[in-house]
């Protein structure tokens, strides 16, 4: 079984982002970038399926700037076999991204696509579901466990208030939630090996996908700052404030 894993290069989750003074977006200059944490979980799951003998090939694809090669290399060091970089310096919206990925899938013909449930920059949580719609495939979102069962895929999903289990027709789209697995750190020998693995360079035009932006970003601003609070001296004073001033207990 062939698995495709789309990955995104985003601002590292430990970085405190800064909104640009001209309100056009978030300042990305000289900021540490990493693979989106949910994409890491998706890569890890694919690698585990390969180690279990279920998957035969893992292809990692990223749509983004030239530097997204580093993100693909990270996935290759974790165990993916080869990469595809669809190079663009534009900000691609989820629907456009899904259209590009559909093109990649029609060429590569994977049996399953595993993605992160959302990227921690745009927080859209759309791409996997949109891709499933465009392909007419089933979708198992927010997965905490997946198991192949003949020609069906059983997916346990994290839903509000608990877990839901569904059975999907294959081929299927899976989006990874936090509990699916704990991604490994790539070992030094694997990092060295990853440097020799192939990465194909493509453009959006290669997939004749309409990925032009449709939404206008009017502005990006800082969230309302919290007013400075006070220090209380005792637990008794704390309870008093919560009950009589804030009125929350």
């Amino acid at each position: 079984m062939k698995i495709l894993v789309p990955v995104k290069r985003v601002v590292d989750y430990n970085v405190k982002i800064r909104v640009k003074a001209d309100q056009t977006g978030v300042d990305l200059a000289n900021v540490k970038m990493s693979m989106n944490p949910f994409c890491e979980i998706a890569v890890e799951e694919a690698v585990r399926l390969q180690e279990a003998g279920t998957a035969t090939e893992i292809i990692v694809v990223s749509v983004g700037p030239t530097q997204a090669q580093e993100t693909i290399r990270t996935a290759l060091a974790m165990g993916a076999d080869r990469g595809i970089l669809v190079q663009t310096d534009e900000q691609i919206e989820p629907l456009g991204l899904a259209k590009i990925l559909k093109g990649v899938i029609e060429e590569e013909k994977p049996d399953m696509v595993i993605l992160g449930k959302q990227a921690i920059d745009g927080d859209n949580n759309q791409t996997g579901q949109m891709l499933a719609a465009l392909l007419g495939w089933s979708q198992g979102t927010f997965a905490s466990e997946i198991a192949l069962d003949g020609d069906k895929l059983t997916v346990t999903r994290e839903i509000d208030g608990g877990l839901q289990t569904i059975k999907l027709a294959m081929p299927a789209i899976v989006t990874a939630d936090l509990r699916l697995n704990e991604p490994r750190y790539a070992s030094l020998p694997n990092i060295m090996k990853a440097k020799k693995k192939p990465i194909d360079e493509k453009t959006i035009a290669d997939y004749s996908a309409d990925a032009a932006p449709r939404l206008e970003i009017v502005k990006v601003t800082e969230p309302a700052a919290r007013e400075a609070g006070i220090k209380v001296e005792t637990v008794n004073e704390l309870v008093d404030k919560l009950k009589n001033v804030a009125g929350v207990i």
């Binding site: 989820p94 208030g161 027709a169 609070g229 637990v235 704390l238 929350v248």
Partner: protein, 313 residues
Amino acid sequence: MSTLLIAEHNNQSLSESTIKSATAAVQMGGDVHVLVAGAGCAAVADEASKMAGVSKVLLADDAQYEKQLAEPIADLVVSLAGDYATIATPASTNGKNFMPRIAALLDCSQISDITAVIDANTFERPIYAGNAIQTVRTSEAKKAITVRATAFAAVEMSGSAAVEAISATANSGLSEFIGEELTKSDRPELTSAKIVVSGGRGMQSGDNFPMLEKIADKLGAAVGASRAAVDAGFVPNDYQVGQTGKVVAPDLYIAVGISGAIQHLAGMKDSKVIVAINKDEEAPIFQVADYGLVADLFNAVPELEEELGKIGL
């Protein structure tokens, strides 16, 4: 210029987040219709018809909609979408699951997790886990919207819209419901709790979390944790509040032994009142706390339990 609001429900009652999302739908202007798709869910349609500002309720009562799986719900909504400029739903795990599928089938963009309606086509939404607010405008003929319900007040339940039964669409059979395991806890669910008590690395061990649970039980609160506490194995992953965990915005958030890493702040800083208990007075959590107590949590938490008891909790 009308909006179709897809109701979230458990086939018995309408979710609070739907009643709040109706406010966003009304703010967008035009007629608001509500779709109740489920199985044996007529009572939900009756409840939905009472939401102020709603002019019609569409009821699709069919076994395939019982669990609101994405594939059948998307096919149903697409069959109805011709009449509507906006398709909206609460940004719950349910809505997040089916809405992008609907948007892609309609070839329109989705604007996720809106927190404010500026006008019919312009919205505010948090990005970077709420560390920035994006104002986004669409000029497309159709749009899909998911609503962060905690950012809107509930509509009055004073209306009386007509309920119209509609027929189901063919089932594609792509997905099948097998089962569900809903957390059986007397405590509320983390993302919808009015009070959350969270522990961090300062708790030192999972064995110390029952201390927080006692406080939570007195307050009717949910129990959460920082990523540090989860990574250290004190509690399971589903406790995690933060950028890569759950984003919460309760009335009261009590952070115990949590230093306040950016990743954690991103998940709770929209809480109305934040309390921090930490022995390190330099901890960044105090910068966002309304009430900070510099104390050893192993003294302060039992004392808090006692003080809450004194006021009858």
